[in-house]
Amino acid sequence: MRSLLGCEKLANALTPRDLGKIALLFVALAGVIVLTPYLGLALTGMGFMLAVGLIIRPTLAPAFLVRLLPCAVLFPLFLRLAFGEWLKIPVPTGPFGL
């Protein structure tokens, strides 16, 4: 309660910028929960990874995007293959069978 009331000094306090990033990450994760039944986990995962990358490092610098984009596209496809085909998990499927 002392912490909640602000009577105790907290170490590693979050900066407003950190809080903003975390809030946006929550929104992105909530987006995954809402959109997965419509778009499937692989396609939603692609959008999600892209969003997370840009939330953590908000820049459109080509050097960064060139690394982020292939990861955001290929990694969810790999996970779709690993979970859906190898581990036989009924992963939600969306357009294009993804």
């Binding site: 975390i22 995954v32 986990l41 997370v52 953590i56 490092r57 990861c71 990694f75 690993a82 979970f83």
Partner: protein
């Protein structure tokens, strides 16, 4: 058959391609997680729990344990090369490891850390194999009364010793108990705290909560942890431990491994405290204590042996009594439950082959890690320079796919998200999350045991102190709870006495 015979048989059984591959996968992931600042063994095991469990049986547990002790090996690499501890147990390795690296002897420091980790793992594993079966046999005589007493002792230790503020520990424990009560009443049957949601009838899935509480929270709090420091230079040939160093540090290695073993077995204390104690003991025993902190191999040997030994010994209460003593073993308990296995003394009776094969896989993993750490050190060091903006989206995606696969439903992702949010609040308000998780796991077990005892004794509460084992355990609990208060009072009295005498 004696413990070593059973262990040898377990090693033979674990040498199947599937288990070997699962162990290899686990230790590599563990090394990566250990090397990354911000993600520790508990977060790593929690994140990989759904993936590992889908491997099933022995490979699943071999993979989870591989992540655990792999991260113990991996944590030292960043501590030595960059002066940044990869996980809390490797904090003490920074003290002498980084100065030694700065002197241009990074390879020597890494070599000693690998050797120390191996020796610590070996001692921990021998202790795990020799003590587990006798403890489990003794625990078979435990009824619900004794189990209640032992759980109360474990929970009091975690809450009192787990953090700097015992009240916060108990508050987190109470929240965990409450969360554990969600769902159907285990004895009478009515529904509790489900707020009309059908999905909460079976209670909260512990593994999903663990992913949120440890995995997501660790990531939320380390979003900006990009490494900008330069890495210390080393040569691959220098990574192999020198015989001279090993001989010179033999006492420190043994002392560290033994200290780590005994500290690790106690619930709530953990590998970090074990490394600190081992380092302090090593310094005290040394003829040249002034050299500690300047970069000497003895200062690396003791904490590295201690943290790996502790990682094995912390599994003893989990496997023999069904009581996890740390965050990582709590998550591993979730894995055992997901595999349909109830940790506790009966595990050795009903699934003896399984458990000895799992111990055998630990042995293989420990040997595997020596070679893998030496081979992968350059890769692990370079991994640190990958931006979290590239690495974390991948880990988040693994979490989403993994949590979905636990219950084949997106409701798990929602619960993990809420647990992550709650974990963030806990961390930032300095409330330890470990008592909460243990409350969530052990709360329902404790409730069942208390109510069974009460039914057997027809409501007589004195039954808890009539049995000698239960009474001893309750007395120990009282000591654990009252000792810090008594010490505090004594410390306050001392200055007063000094003042009056002067």
């Amino acid at each position: 058959m004696d413990a070593f015979g059973l262990l040898f048989e377990g090693i033979q059984n674990a040498a199947t391609p599937t288990t070997l591959l699962a162990t290899l996968f686990g230790v590599i992931i563990g090394l990566l997680i250990g090397a990354l600042p911000g993600l520790g063994p508990s977060a790593g095991v929690a994140i990989m729990l759904p993936v590992a469990v889908s491997l099933g049986g022995v490979p699943a547990l071999a993979c989870l344990a591989g992540i655990y002790y792999g991260s113990m090996f991996g944590g030292a690499i960043t501590s030595i090369l960059l002066g940044i501890p990869g996980d809390p147990p490797s904090i003490m390795t920074v003290v002498d490891g980084h100065p030694l690296a700065k002197k241009g002897e990074a390879g020597r420091a890494l070599g000693m850390s690998v050797f120390g980790s191996f020796i610590g793992g070996l001692v921990g594993l021998i202790g795990l194999a020799t003590l587990s079966a006798p403890i489990a046999r003794a625990a078979l005589a435990f009824g619900p009364t004794e189990m209640t007493a032992i759980m109360v002792l474990a929970l009091s230790m975690v809450s009192v010793l787990g953090g700097r503020n015992a009240i916060k520990g108990f508050t987190a424990l109470a929240i965990g108990f409450w969360l554990g009560m969600i769902g159907l009443d285990p004895i009478a049957g009515p529904v509790r705290f489900t707020f009309g949601s059908m999905e909460l009838f079976d209670g909260l899935d512990f593994s999903v909560v663990a992913v949120g509480l440890f995995g997501l929270t660790a990531m939320f709090t380390s979003l900006n942890e990009n490494v900008t420091k330069g890495v210390a230079k080393f040569e691959l040939s220098a990574l192999f431990p020198r015989v001279k160093d090993a001989v010179r540090s033999r006492i420190d290695l043994l002392q560290g491994a033994v200290t780590g073993f005994f500290v690790g077995v106690l619930p709530g204390i953990g590998a970090t405290a074990a490394t600190m104690m081992a380092y302090a003991a090593s310094k005290r025993m040394s003829k040249t204590p002034e050299k500690y902190g300047t970069g000497i191999v003895e200062g690396i040997a003791a904490p590295e042996a201690a943290n790996n030994s502790a990682s094995y010994s912390s599994m003893i209460p989990l496997f023999t009594l069904g009581i996890p003593g740390s965050a990582t073993t709590a998550v591993m308990m979730g894995g055992l439950l997901m595999l349909g296995l109830q940790p506790g003394p009966l595990l050795f009776v009903n699934n003896g082959d399984f458990i000895w094969t799992v111990f055998g896989s630990f042995w293989i993993g420990n040997v595997m890690l020596v070679f893998l750490t030496l081979l992968l050190t350059p890769l692990l060091a370079s991994l640190l320079f990958i931006s979290t903006a590239i690495l974390y989206p991948m880990v988040f995606a693994i979490i989403v796919f993994g949590v979905f696969s636990i219950g084949n439903s997106m409701s798990g992702v929602t619960i993990a998200l809420l647990a992550g949010f709650f974990g963030l609040i806990l961390i930032k308000l300095d409330y330890p999350p470990v008592p909460l998780v243990l409350g969530l796991i052990l709360g329902p077990m404790l409730e069942r045991n208390i109510r069974r005892t009460q039914i057997q004794s027809q409501g007589d509460v004195l039954v808890f102190v009539e049995r000698p084992i239960a009474l001893t355990l309750f007395v120990l609990t009282a000591i654990v709870l009252l000792l810090p208060v008594a010490m505090k009072l004594l410390r306050k009295k001392k200055p007063l006495l000094a003042e009056t005498s002067s």
